[in-house]
Symmetry: C2
Subunit: 427 residues, 2 copies
C-alpha cells in the first residue's frame, strides 16, 4: 500500500477501505507516513468528507493505536462527552450523581483551550486535585467510588494526539469525521457500554449553527453504534453560558450548588436529562422520566454531594463547599433599555482568557479564582445601565480588557426575542 | 498574517489575496511555514481551485523566490514549453531553428521522470553535452548562437523545487493552478517576450482528456498574459507517440532528420506551427503562414541543422549525425487483423523505463541507446502478425518485460477509426 495512492483516492472523492485507513493511522503512529502526507490527507478528508463506515474505521484505527482501560467489574460502564461550551460544569455533577447508582463512570477529560473551559481545570480549583491517575488507580477508584474524573493516560489513542497536533496548525480541525474519530477514539478507550454526547451549538460553541451540530451528533451516534456502544446525543443551547457562572472556581461552586439540590435550573435540568438518558441506555431504567426522578432524588438527599466530596478527596484534592473567588471588580451594564438578545459566547470566552481564567496556548497557567456571573438571561427585559455581567478579578488591567470584550458581547434589542430551547430533540 | 488563517480561507472556498499567497511562498522558502502546513494548503488548492488572479500571484511569488536571467541584448526572447509526451523531441529542433532568426531562445529544460522523456536526457546522448550552464554561460551562448538548452539553474524559482518535492508525495500534483505556477515561474525566469505552450492530451500525456488539457492551457495563457508575456497555447495529440522514435538517442537522431529537412511529418508540422506562432507573437512576422514558410526554408537549406550542431558543440557535446542505438531486439506484431485503434502511451512509456531509457525515480541512470520505433500509426489497417513496434535493446530480460507492456498497449479494432488531429484549435 502507498500513502500517496490513499491520499489521491480521498482527493478524488472515493471511499477508503478499512485497511487503507488503518495503513495511514499505523503509519502516523510509527512515523512511516510523513507529517506532510498526513496533513494533506487530513485536508482531503476535510474537503471531501468521509462516510459512516470510513469514520468508524478511522475511530477504530486510532483506538487501536493505544491501549484501553480494563474492566474490573460487571457493572455497566457509562460516560458523557460534551463538545464544549461556556459555563459547562455538567461533568462535575453528572459523574458523582451517576455513581450513586450501580454503574461505573470513568470520565477521561481534557483541559481548556481557547474559549471553552476544561473540566480538569475546574476540578484543579480544589488544591491538590490530581488529574494524572494511572490506569490501575482509575480502576481502583471505579471499584471504590464508581466515578473518576482524570486526564487521558498517555497510552490512550496516541495517534489522536499526534493527529490533533497536525490538524491544529493545518486548517483541518473543522472536519466532522476527524472530530468524530478524535472524540470517539478517546471515549471508547474506556471500554464503555453506553455514551451520551452533549453536542453544543451557538455563539459559545465550536458548532455555530444547529445544522452543523446535528451533522456532528449524527456522525458521533452512528460511529458509537457501529462500534457496539449504546450511543445517544442531545443538541443543547450554547448561545448563552450554561448556568450563571463562568470561570474555574466559580463553576466548581455552582456545580456544588446543584449537587446540594440547588443551583441554576438549566444546569440542573441538562445534567439530569443527560444522566437519565445514560441510565436508560445502560438498561438500569426502562423510561427516562423514572430515571430522572431517581436521579433528582440523589441531588436532594445529599448522596451525590457526598460522592463528589469523596471523589475530590480520593484524587488528592482539598474539598471546600465554597471555594474562594476573586472580588467583584465591576459590573457591565446594558447600554440601552430593551431586551437582552445576544450574549456572544466567543467574546465572553475571550474575556475569561483576558482575566487569566482560560488558555490562549497550551501550557498557559490559570488563575482559578477569576470569573464572570451572568445577571440576566437571553430574552429578559433590561433597563439602560442595569448590570448584565459581573466580573470577579483583582487585576485592574485585566478587568479593563475583559470589560471591553464583554461590552461587545452584549446585544440589546428593541423587540422581545425568544431564547433558544436548552435541549433540541436530536434526529 | 497567520498560515493557518490562510489555509482556512482556501479550505472555505475564499479567494486569497496577493499578500496572503506571497506570505505562504516566502514562508516555504524561509522555512517559517512548516511542510505540513504547505502540504495542507496545497491540498486545499487542489480541492478548491484558484482563480486567474490567485494563480498569477502564486506564479509571481514563486518567480520572486529566486533570480531571473538578465537580458544581454534587445532581441526578442522567446520560448516553448511542452507539458510532456512520448517521443516529443520538438525542443531539439525548435530552439536551433528559431535561432536562425533574430531572436534568443533560452530554453531551460528538465529531465525525464515517469513515462515522458526529458529534453536534457535526449541531448546527453551526445557524449559530453553539458546541462549545467551558469547564468553567464547561458547569456554568452545566447549572444553567440541565439539558443541554449540547459537545465534550470539552482537559483531559479527555488520555491517551486521545494513545493514540487512536497506535492509529489502528498497527492497535490494534479492541480491546474499548482501546475500552472510551477511551469510559468520557471519559464518566466528567463525574462521572455513570448511563450508558446504545447499542451498535450491523451493516453501518453499527463492530461488524459481534451477538456483537462484545455483547462490547463487556458490557465497557462491567462497567467502568461497577466504577467506581461505574449502567451499562446496549442492543444496537441498524445494518443500516440510524436514521430516514429521513442528513446533518447533514437529521438535525437529523428530530430536531426527533421533539422535536415526530412523526418516524420507530424514532428515537422508541430515544430513549424509552434515556431511560427512564436515568430508572430514576437512580432517578427505578421502572419503565421509566412513565418511557417520562412522556418520551413531553414530546415531545407541546412542552417537550422548547422545551428544545432554548433549548439551541441558549444555545450561540450560530441556531435554525430547518427548516434549509435541498441540493436533491434524484436518486433511486436498485431495480435489480430483490423485497425490500429489504440497505442496506450502510459504502457509504452513504462516499456521504455523497463528498457532502461527512462526513470522510475529521480537519479536513476539511463541507457541512452535503447528505444522503440512505431511501425504503424493509429487508424492504419494492420494484418495479424504485422510488426507494430520495434524494440532496440541488447538486454533480453529487459526486452521481455518491455515486450509484455507493449503488447498490452496495442489495441486492434474491428472497425476503422479516425485518429485524433495532431493540433486542436485552442479556445
Amino acid at each position: 500500500m502507498l500513502a500517496t495512492a490513499i491520499i489521491d483516492k480521498k482527493r478524488d472523492f472515493q471511499e477508503l477501505s478499512r485497511e487503507e485507513i488503518r495503513f495511514m493511522i499505523d503509519g502516523l503512529t510509527a512515523g512511516t507516513v510523513s507529517d506532510p502526507q498526513i496533513a494533506a490527507w487530513a485536508m482531503a478528508i476535510t474537503c471531501r468528507g468521509m462516510n459512516e463506515a470510513e469514520t468508524t474505521a478511522l475511530t477504530d484505527a486510532m483506538l487501536d493505536s493505544g491501549s484501553r482501560l480494563e474492566r474490573g467489574s460487571d457493572r455497566p460502564r457509562i460516560d458523557k462527552h460534551s463538545t464544549g461550551g461556556l459555563g459547562d460544569k455538567v461533568s462535575l455533577i453528572l459523574a458523582p450523581l451517576l455513581a450513586c447508582f450501580d454503574v461505573e463512570v470513568p470520565m477521561l477529560s481534557g483541559r481548556g483551550l481557547g474559549i471553552t473551559g476544561g473540566t480538569l481545570d475546574k476540578l484543579e480549583s480544589y488544591p491538590g486535585y490530581r488529574c494524572n491517575l494511572s490506569a490501575s488507580e482509575i480502576d481502583a477508584q471505579l471499584q471504590s467510588l464508581g466515578c473518576v474524573i482524570t486526564g487521558t493516560t498517555p497510552d490512550i489513542a496516541p495517534a489522536d494526539r499526534r493527529l490533533y497536533q497536525l490538524r491544529d496548525v493545518t486548517g483541518t480541525v473543522p472536519s466532522v469525521s476527524l472530530i468524530t474519530a478524535s472524540i470517539m477514539s478517546k471515549k471508547l478507550a474506556a471500554t464503555l457500554d453506553a455514551l451520551v454526547l452533549d453536542v453544543k451549538w451557538g455563539s459559545g460553541a465550536f458548532m455555530q449553527s444547529l445544522d452543523q451540530a446535528r451533522e456532528l451528533a449524527d456522525a458521533l451516534v452512528a460511529t458509537g453504534q457501529r462500534m457496539g456502544v449504546a450511543t445517544r446525543a442531545m443538541l443543547t443551547d450554547m448561545n448563552q453560558p450554561l448556568g450563571k457562572m463562568v470561570g474555574n472556581a466559580c463553576e466548581a461552586n455552582e456545580a456544588v450548588d446543584v449537587l446540594r439540590g440547588d443551583g441554576p435550573a438549566d444546569t440542573r435540568e441538562l445534567t439530569l436529562r443527560l444522566a437519565a438518558s445514560l441510565l436508560v441506555q445502560a438498561s438500569l431504567y426502562d423510561d427516562s422520566s423514572r430515571a430522572y426522578d431517581a436521579l433528582a432524588a440523589r441531588l436532594l438527599d445529599g448522596t451525590a454531594y457526598e460522592r463528589f466530596h469523596k471523589m475530590v478527596a480520593a484524587q488528592g484534592g482539598v474539598f471546600q463547599p465554597l471555594l474562594p473567588v476573586a472580588p467583584v471588580a465591576t459590573e457591565i451594564g446594558a447600554a440601552d433599555s430593551g431586551w437582552l438578545s445576544g450574549l456572544n459566547g466567543a467574546q465572553l470566552g475571550r474575556a475569561v482568557i483576558e482575566l487569566g481564567g482560560g488558555r490562549q496556548q497550551l501550557g498557559d497557567r490559570l488563575d482559578h479564582s477569576v470569573g464572570l456571573e451572568m445577571l440576566a438571561r437571553l430574552g429578559e427585559r433590561v433597563d439602560a445601565g442595569q448590570p448584565v455581567v459581573r466580573i470577579f478579578s483583582s487585576n485592574p488591567d485585566r478587568t479593563r480588557a475583559a470589560a471591553a470584550l464583554i461590552r461587545s458581547a452584549i446585544t440589546i434589542g428593541e423587540r422581545p426575542i425568544t431564547a433558544p430551547s436548552l435541549i433540541v430533540p436530536s434526529a
